[in-house]
């Protein structure tokens, strides 16, 4: 998909700056209004997170616009409190421990499978690929109850235990594997389309030179597939980072392993509206995705476009 950022350059109009500024003013005004409406909620959150608690409780955040330059308007106390006394630095680390493997594992597993589906010969290749892609339809809600039961009491088929009681609930591997399973259909589909599109002459000459499938995969396919791997990686990273439901079910209420979305949701449940904590906590959770967003916008757009039906 073409990145949104590619606009057609227009011929420069040789008109005065003022006339250009007022040119098409209804369009500009409409765009500006929508942009302002879209920005205000986030702006309010950001400004509030930097205000002293007493100010937050007594006046609206917009009143700071009257005394922007007064030093007493701003403070980092909320961040300090949330990160170091409310355990959000732990939640942040836990989220990394969940997110990085839950991104790397599905990509690796999917890339090997995609290569096999595209370039290896085996029985039932077509059928299996269709089944894998067809699994895109299954919402992850379908998986919650059985997987949780599997984690807590093992798997039984007609009363015969086939999977032992693994006691995985509340551990990182529990959630990595869950995210891997839920992310695979999309990943296999995207990667197989891309890897299948690589020129076949490449593989033939490598085979003639005596390369094994494993060597072809690691030395040729992976380097050539960097764009699609990056797109999916960013999509999956943000998906897992922003996930609340899967963490809620599989990590559970154990505070030691909880991720940042759980920590925030718990804070909402606490008595009273502690906006000094909520706003800074929310912003802590948004920093990484927003950085990824602004730094890698092109890949991000592509990944999202391809991956938005997931879940």
């Amino acid at each position: 998909m073409t990145a949104a950022t590619e606009a057609v350059p227009r011929p420069k109009a040789r008109r005065s700056f003022l006339r250009r500024a007022f040119d098409r003013w209804p369009v500009k005004l409409a765009v500006a209004i929508i942009v302002v409406i879209w920005l205000i909620p986030t702006l309010g959150l950001f400004i509030t997170s930097l205000r002293p608690e007493s100010d937050i409780q007594t006046t609206g955040w917009w009143t700071t616009l009257g005394h922007l330059w007064k030093p007493s308007t701003w403070t980092f106390a909320n961040y300090d409190f949330v990160l170091f006394r409310r355990g959000f630095s732990n939640a942040f680390l836990n989220t990394l421990a969940v997110t990085i493997p839950a991104t790397v594992i599905p990509i690796t597993v999917a890339a090997f499978a995609a290569y096999a589906f595209a370039w290896m010969k085996f029985k039932g290749r077509q059928i299996l690929f269709v089944v894998v892609v067809g699994l895109l339809v299954v919402p992850l809600q379908m998986a919650l109850i059985p997987i949780l039961r599997l984690y807590t009491s093992g798997g039984h088929l007609f009363g015969i235990p086939i999977i032992p009681d693994l006691n995985l609930t509340g551990t990182f591997p529990a959630i990595w594997l869950a995210h891997t399973g839920f992310g695979l259909p999309l990943a296999v589909y995207l990667l197989r389309n891309y890897i299948g599109g690589l020129p076949s002459s490449l593989f033939e000459s490598a085979r003639i030179d005596g390369a094994t499938h494993f060597q072809i995969f690691t030395r040729l396919v992976v380097p050539l597939s960097v764009p699609v791997l990056a797109s999916f990686a960013i999509f999956q990273f943000l998906w897992v980072w922003n996930d609340y439901l899967v963490a809620l079910i599989f990590l559970g209420a154990e505070p030691r392993v909880q991720v940042i979305t759980q920590a925030i949701a718990l804070l909402v449940g606490d008595r009273g509206e502690q906006f000094h904590l909520l706003t800074s906590a929310a912003f802590v959770s948004m920093i990484l995705p927003l950085t990824v967003f602004f730094a890698l916008q092109r890949f991000f757009v592509r990944g999202l476009t391809a991956g938005s039906v997931k879940g």
Binding site: V31, I264, A265, A282
Partner: protein, 361 residues
């Protein structure tokens, strides 16, 4: 050193390596679940275990296959490439889909068969019906507004200079990067309410509302309008998605057709509805169906903002509440099946149109 000794030596080394790796995996698996261990180290160990583990898995399997008798080698190899993926899909999607469907015909503890009771209960219980009604409203209203605003914005921004266009689009798109939980906090603050006499309003909406001389409103408690206020959050999140994809489609409309229409004296309005819109119609369908699927499964926003109270329950949220809070497997599974079945036709349209759109490229 004789070749045989060397062979045995290499074998011994490989066995040693394998044992070492196994021990390391077991140790780190124990370490990351140790409650007393330093969190930073635990996190590092977890990341290393997950990332290195998956690489070693494939390397190790390939290593083993290389040592199989030549007859089997190339017949087995494809299966070590697809095997892990198929196993994961089997355990995490195929088995659960079957199992959930079975559980939806069983009672709350999944012991006895109850036939269609779970479904008849859902379709007769007032609270569940409210969640179904709300979900229907969500899937109509949110995609409608997200696509309409996204399309309008994409069309308008297309007429701006490139820099201004990109900056404006970034801002509309930015909410896509944040979690629904984060977005809920953003809007919890917008909708914040204080009863009159309990200090000045700190939510921007009540700030504006009281500034206009009205009494403050507890937005999230106003049935049935609170549903709309929750929907606004998702519209805010999804408009950027619609806008970015529609914008790309608009830019792909051939300049010559638009130029020709303009020479024939068509207005901007006519060009949009008679030329641009028909050209991008399949993209509009893809975007709309994609958003419908997202909306249909919305959970976080409702769960965090109102917990499904005050008449705001939706299907995906009821599913989790029934299963997780009320411990009723039967109802939870039945709600999941309802989610699943309703997604299928939308997904079919989505995939069909997506392929039509891809073939145009």
């Amino acid at each position: 050193m004789s070749p045989t000794t060397r062979l045995w030596l290499t074998r011994a080394i490989w066995i040693g390596v394998a044992v070492g790796i196994g021990a390391a995996v077991v140790w780190s698996a124990g370490f990351i679940t140790d409650p007393e261990a330093n969190r930073g180290l635990v996190v590092l160990a977890a990341i290393a275990l997950g990332v290195v583990g998956v690489a070693l898995l494939f390397k190790g399997m390939d290593f083993v296959v290389d040592r199989l008798p030549a007859r089997f080698r190339e017949r087995v190899r494809p299966w070590i490439f697809v095997g892990p993926a198929l196993l994961m899909l089997g355990v995490y999607l195929v088995y659960p889909a079957v199992n959930t469907t079975v559980l939806s015909f069983k009672g709350r503890n999944s012991q006895e068969w109850v036939g269609l009771t779970n479904f008849t209960e859902i379709f007769t219980d007032t609270e569940s019906l409210v969640s179904l009604r709300n979900s229907l409203l969500w899937v109509i209203i949110v995609p409608l507004f997200a696509v309409a605003i996204g399309l309008t914005f994409a069309t308008l921004a297309d007429k701006l200079g490139r820099r201004a266009e990109n900056a404006a689009k970034s801002i509309i798109f930015m909410p896509m990067a944040i979690s629904m939980v984060g977005a809920s906090i953003v809007w919890l603050f917008v909708y914040s309410f204080r009863p009159p006499g309990f200090g000045s309003q700190i939510g921007v909406l009540n700030g504006l509302w009281t500034g206009l001389g009205n009494n403050p409103v507890a937005w999230l408690l106003q049935e049935p309008w609170n549903n709309l206020y929750l929907m606004i959050i998702l519209i805010w999140l999804q408009t950027g998605f619609a806008m970015v994809i529609l914008s790309a489609a608009i830019k792909a409309v051939p300049e010559e057709i638009i130029e020709a229409a303009r020479i024939d004296g068509a207005t901007d309005w006519q060009i949009f509805w008679r030329v641009t819109f028909p050209t991008i119609a399949s993209t509009v369908v893809v975007v709309t169906t994609t958003i419908i699927i997202t909306v249909w499964k919305v959970f976080d926003i409702v769960f965090v903002m109102t917990g499904g109270n005050f008449g705001t329950a939706v299907v995906a949220e009821r599913m989790v509440t029934e299963f997780f809070t009320f411990r009723n497997n039967g109802h939870g599974a039945a709600f999941a099946v309802i989610l699943f079945v309703a997604v299928i036709p939308v997904m079919a349209v989505n995939v069909r149109q997506f392929r039509i759109q891809e073939e145009r490229r």
